[in-house]
Amino acid sequence: MKQLSIMVDLDRCIGCKTCIVACRNHYGLVDHEKSMPGTMSHYLRVESECTGSYPDLKEDYWVVMCQHCKKPPCIRACENGAITKDVQTGIVLIDKKKCVGAKKCIEKCPYDVIQFDAPGKFAHKCSMCYDRVIHGLEPVCVEVCLADALSFGEKEILLMQADAAGKKVVKKKSTQSILYVKS
């Protein structure tokens, strides 16, 4: 299996959203001059779940980005062949030039992570920073993570690292290529 992955450590994620803004800055998703809250594209989002009742509570935070699915429904949905799963990296990529803005990928994405650029009429999303990782750099979110909750690498190696650190894969969340782990 050739699959690059990001591993999210729920023991460390504090839901600070630093990665979201850093990613936006890197990809120029924000018109800093005019953008208003609620109108800006984002390739990541933070989710959390609090369980129990006062005073016995537990809460986890994690980030959700494109899961770079094993069999991506967005690829099947796109009639123009604008979406591919790169064979070398397993990264799911949208070719902006081929995209006609039909939004069918957005409808079919089970993770609700594909964005739509209305002025340019194209879909866009997390590319796991393909243009960076092929030159040996980490994805931006991994590099800037405030809590060092994210790691990047081949999925098999990340699984080995998680095991060595005594972390277990949260199977329910890790059904595709992004790994979620905790102690």
């Binding site: 504090i14 630093t18 924000v30 953008s35 609090c50 006062y54 005073p55 509570l57 590099e143």
Partner: protein, 711 residues
């Protein structure tokens, strides 16, 4: 300027001032990130700083008020006119012998901030939010063991050993008002076997990561720590060797006598932490190789000095002073003085500090700075005539916002404002500028020079960092430091003989054999790379009057404050029948409190990447009692204020408490004014007109507020 490269500089989205890198492409800042030479982290506020820099709402020209104060009507003027207005009024004040009636509200970026120099040259006082947030901690530590900590000197979490204990008592360091590396350092310490204990009426991110969350009644921290201290002394599990060597003779006996009845059982009744948990925590701490304690919101209540005193005693009897994993005793970089320096006026004799009816009774206590929140009362009493404000938003941050607004608009019989001139420097529209006579466009950290070194920086207080401009300034904006240096050159040339801010910093850096260029060549950072531990051993003494640790505060004996009272703040002990809920206001990582530049930042007020709501948090148990449904808007009323606000039920707050994030309520700016969110200070009493017991027990802290909630 620079082309498409990462340039080292410093963030100023909040007061932590983290060292960062900015990527500039064709004269435009595109990306930012933490500087890997300086711990390498930058938080969400910092990342969003580019939005602050380029917002179309940036203030670009000096403006003069044309309507009445509070209307927010201005016309553009030139810098010359603005400078003339300030110079004329200040010269008039000096001529009248009332220079001390000038204050500048700011957060100094170094102990020799040029704005502070200007204020001293005039003969006025700087005023800050620092006394409120930190004075009790600072004064307690100074009185007890002679060190000057601050909330930006959290315990150095990277020094916490395996098995060490990190206690956060009403403190939210994942909120990054410290260096952005703090969350990582805490999590790293946990991974190497340290324990994180969170004592808090609210379950927040820190509690979610804690080994133990201990919900406490707000204001109960002093009782909890005295209960632990009592148990330790009774069982003889305190650090006897440390106390024998370093505590002033007789103080341990005095402490034992004082603590005799402060048993875990007795203290449990005050703080509502079970006695068995107080015992368990005390025994954990006694066995641990280190214990650090940090508090912030808990030390803003009306018993803050007592809590600071109890905390200091706890650190001493566990031997956790200036040791790895304990309480740091920071030093400051030995910068050279820029001579001649203007002398500071006598704060105790001339300051407007301590307004209100029992001002004389509190003469025992003197802090080193004026607190911003006595300004309103000082204006009313004629003790404040000229007010400058930079990088602060007193219209929202001053407790008792209504009284502040009133003071700004009060006039004498002739129809002149009591406050004769109010000048605000700002980056983006702020609530405070609505009341200003002059609004001066300030620069972001991407456009200005600054030398930063502060004793209260997280763990590297004796380090210096250079903030350098990475792009051309927007509009006619000028950094407030340069404005004050220029005004200083016009009014006091003898104290401002240096060429400009860069030369001023050059002179200072010569003290450590550096210059601005040398520091820039070295990555814009300078540090000896050491912190140093147990420095009192090298000195053979602590920096107190006796040279020993002074547990008993003898100077407060006549007001009965030689030992810390475990009682809750007066405001929490009375009025429960009429105002059954305790207001718990807190902060988040997403906003720099009332700071206009973060409240008006679209990314920070976006629900995906920031925070766009501030409902009142209530435990469902309380909501059921009140008959309130989720989504209802309720009236929240204190003895001095009333607001309407949507309510949100959550298990994450102690029953009996009502939670509200500090910093909302701005009506200026397209981004900040969205939503019906309110400022917590609408409910909190004005410090100047509501002095009570808290002034004797609480230092400068005045947040303690009870409220009632009506559907």
């Amino acid at each position: 300027m620079h082309e498409n490269k990462w340039i080292p500089t410093v963030c100023y989205q909040c007061k932590a001032e983290c060292a960062i890198l900015a990527r500039v492409e064709n004269g435009v800042v595109k990306e930012v990130k933490g500087n890997p030479l300086a711990r390498g982290k930058m938080c969400v506020k910092g990342m969003a700083g580019i939005t602050t820099l380029y917002s179309q709402e940036r203030l670009k020209h000096p403006m003069k008020r044309v309507g009445e104060r509070g209307e927010g009507k201005f016309v553009d003027i030139g810098w010359d006119e603005a400078m003339n207005i300030m110079e004329k009024k200040l010269r008039e004040l000096i001529k009248r012998g009332e220079a001390h009636k000038f204050t500048y509200s700011m957060f100094p970026h170094s102990t020799t901030d040029p704005k502070w120099r200007f204020v001293n040259a005039v003969g006025g006082f700087i005023s800050t939010g620092l006394p409120h947030c930190d004075s009790a901690k600072i004064m307690a530590h100074l009185h007890t063991f002679g060190c000057f900590p601050n909330h930006h000197i959290a315990p150095m979490y990277y020094t916490v050993p395996r098995g060490g204990i990190m206690i956060l008592s009403g403190r939210h360091p994942f909120g990054c008002l410290d260096d952005a590396c703090v969350p990582k350092h805490i999590l790293d310490a946990k991974e190497r076997g340290a324990k994180l204990i969170v004592i808090d009426p609210i379950f927040r991110t820190e509690a979610a990561k804690a080994d133990w969350w201990i919900p406490i009644k707000p204001g109960g921290d002093a009782a909890l720590f005295l209960g632990m201290a009592s148990h330790m002394l009774k069982k003889g599990i305190h650090n006897k060797a440390f106390c024998d060597k370093w505590v002033r003779e007789g103080d341990m006996e005095g402490l034992a006598a004082f603590l005799k009845d402060k048993t875990p059982e007795a203290m449990s009744k005050i703080c509502e932490v079970p006695a068995k948990d107080i015992v368990k925590l005390a025994e954990m701490c006694a066995k641990a190789p280190s214990v650090s304690v940090d508090a912030f919101k808990s030390i803003m209540y009306g018993n803050a000095m007592d809590w600071g005193h109890a905390w200091s005693i706890f650190l001493v009897i566990t031997g956790n002073l200036d040791n790895p994993g304990g309480q740091p005793m920071p030093e400051i970089a030995p910068m050279a003085a820029v001579a001649p320096a203007p002398p500071a006026p006598n704060l105790k004799e001339l300051g407007y500090h301590r307004t209100g009816p029992n001002r004389d009774k509190f003469n025992h206590y003197n802090f080193i700075l004026e607190p911003t929140w006595y300004a309103a009362q000082a204006v009313k009493e004629g003790n404040l005539k000229v007010f400058f404000a930079s990088e602060c938003n007193p219209a929202l941050s001053e407790m008792g916002s209504g009284e502040w607004r009133k003071a700004m608009t009060m006039k004498d019989k002739k129809g002149n404002y009591l406050l004769e001139l109010f000048v605000v420097t700002e980056i983006l529209p702020s609530e405070t500028m609505k009341w200003a006579d002059l609004v001066l466009p300030d620069q972001t950290n991407f456009e200005r020079w600054e030398l930063l070194y502060m004793p209260w920086w997280y763990n590297f207080g004796h380090t210096a960092a250079v903030c350098q401009p990475v792009v051309k300034p927007i509009g006619e904006s000028r950094h407030a430091n340069r404005v004050m240096i220029d005004l200083g050159k016009r009014m006091f040339p003898e104290y401002f003989a240096f060429k400009d801010d860069v030369e001023y910093y050059d002179i200072e850096l010569s003290g450590v054999g550096m210059s601005m260029q040398k520091v820039l060549d070295g990555g814009a950072l300078w540090s000896p790379g050491t912190v140093g531990f147990r420095k009192y051993e090298d000195a053979g003494k602590f920096n107190t009057g006796s040279g020993k640790i002074e547990l008993e505060w003898k100077m407060y004996k006549d007001i009965g404050q030689e030992w810390p009272s475990p009682e809750l703040p007066l405001e929490f002990r009375r009025g429960a029948d009429k105002y059954p809920f305790i207001l718990v206001n807190f902060r988040t990582i997403f906003l720099n409190n009332t700071g206009a530049w973060s409240q008006n930042n679209a990314q920070l007020r976006d629900s995906v990447s920031g925070l766009d709501a501030n409902p009142l948090l209530l435990n469902p148990i309380d909501a059921a009692k009140l008959g309130i449904a989720s989504g209802d808007t309720v009236t929240v009323e204190s003895s001095t204020g009333k607001v309407r606000i949507p309510v949100l039920f959550t298990e994450k707050i102690k029953p009996g408490c009502a939670g509200l994030i500090h910093g909302f309520g701005q009506t200026m700016g397209k981004v900040a004014s969205r939503g019906k969110w309110v400022g917590d200070n609408e409910l909190i009493a004005d410090a100047g007109s509501h002095l009570d017991e808290q002034d004797l027990r609480g230092g400068e802290a005045h947040v303690s507020t009870r409220v009632r909630i009506v559907k």
